[in-house]
Amino acid sequence: MTRQIVIPFGPQHPVLPEPLHLDLVMEDERVVEALPSIGYVHRGLEKLVEKRDYKDFVFIAERICGICSFIHGMTYCQAVEGVMDLPVPPRALYLRTVWSELSRLHSHLLWLGLLADSMGFESLFMQSWRLREHILDDLESTTGNRVIQGACKVGGVRHDVSNEKLGSIVAGLDELRPKLDDLVNVFVRDDSVKHRLGGLGVLTEQQAWELGAVGPVLRASGVSNDIRQIGYAAYDELEFTPVVETGGDCYARTMVRAKELFTSIDLIRQAVEKIPEGPVEMKVTGNPWGEFYARSEQPRGEVVHYVKANGTKNLVRFRVRTPTFTNLPPLLAAMKGLQLADVPVVVLSIDPCIGCAER
């Protein structure tokens, strides 16, 4: 009979950019159970909706997360537009799509870098982040900021982007593509990466589905589930197939994210080719009345914004279900039986964003 001990993991940990705390119940070197505790960075953003004008709250909704900020802002706008039944101009929807995909690109590159860092592959980490800078420059030159873009508003977007600029973004991405190929090649083929990630933290298809995994974690377990397919923003007019892997391990999750880089580039190209001319915002008058659920696909998975309004300028209720929060139960299931040294890599494989999860 082995004696069980509890090892605290986090909230301050070298591989974790954000404070997640896990109590690991160990038998020798093996994890028997992982008990999470969250709440270190709770900011009460959902309550704040009662104190701010619904049009201004988009800036706060955007600050739920520092990486998928644009998509949070966009989903909030979608929710309010859903309540008010606003016909958003198509050019604005296309621009939102382009920015969403740029966000996905930079988020996935950031994550690939962090993953490489978590397994001690420092040079790969730096290469990933170097490529990410190009995407961030595109975002800054079109929206005004690198990560907190502040480009969405209720009823459209705040800046138009000229067709020449959009063309140059696509040209820049085409230049970036061979470099991304080289980078992804290392993740796909390098033996040390394969050995470190293969067969680690396995989630079967059934487990992932039943425990409510979303996004790349779910798709890596063989479930083809991508909220972009419901056709919010301009996705219903663009063609893509969700990237699905069947391994269910950390390697499969890496592959999903690595291949999604190229899906995103294709989507941006399609959106730029099809983008219509016209206004990018509409005048919004009056206050919302009603409730609405808006869903969209973040780099980390499905995000749901729920909004309830009672006809005043302040909303009554705002609720966000973020992908990290739903990915925690699958993570805990995947951690059973792991070696202690593998825990950081598996935790990172769900791309935890605790700022999102606790809001």
């Binding site: 049009k55 201004d56 800036f59 600050r63 800054e140 030159s141 005004g144 900021n145 502040g150």
Partner: protein
């Protein structure tokens, strides 16, 4: 094969410039839209307080009676909401980031000059 691949990488690294920008020597990258910091022009302000009322972080305090405008740059998130809402273009965003300060950190205080007494109603509409 592997040897030549790495040789190519090494020679590439030897003769290429570092990808990071040499910051103090060359200026930092900035774009026209970059939201660096909020700038205020007191002479254009009509003390309507829309910037204070609609600031998502309540960084701006405007006093109508004393005719003062104050911004706490530590609270300001440079979202640009006030810039869009300002009816007289008294606010705008500068692409440069604010430099570090030692005393009274982050606070910016302005007294708003009183409007010229002559053209009170007519002059304002003409400007707007």
């Amino acid at each position: 094969m592997g040897v030549f691949t790495i040789a190519k990488t090494i020679t590439g690294n030897l003769f290429s410039r570092p990808p990071t920008s040499r910051y103090p020597a060359e200026p930092a990258k900035r774009f026209d839209l970059t939201r660096g910091h909020l700038a205020f022009e007191p002479e254009n302000c009509r003390v309507c307080r829309v910037c204070m009322l609609r600031c998502p972080t309540q960084a701006i305090v405007v006093d109508r009676e004393k005719r003062t405008w104050e911004c706490d740059h530590f609270r300001c998130i440079t979202c640009g909401n006030c810039v869009e809402l300002c009816p007289t273009d008294a606010l705008h965003l500068e692409p440069a980031y604010r430099s570090p300060e030692a005393d009274r950190p982050g606070k910016e205080f302005h007294e708003i000059p009183a409007p010229p007494p002559k053209a009170e109603a007519g002059g304002e509409t003409a400007e707007a």
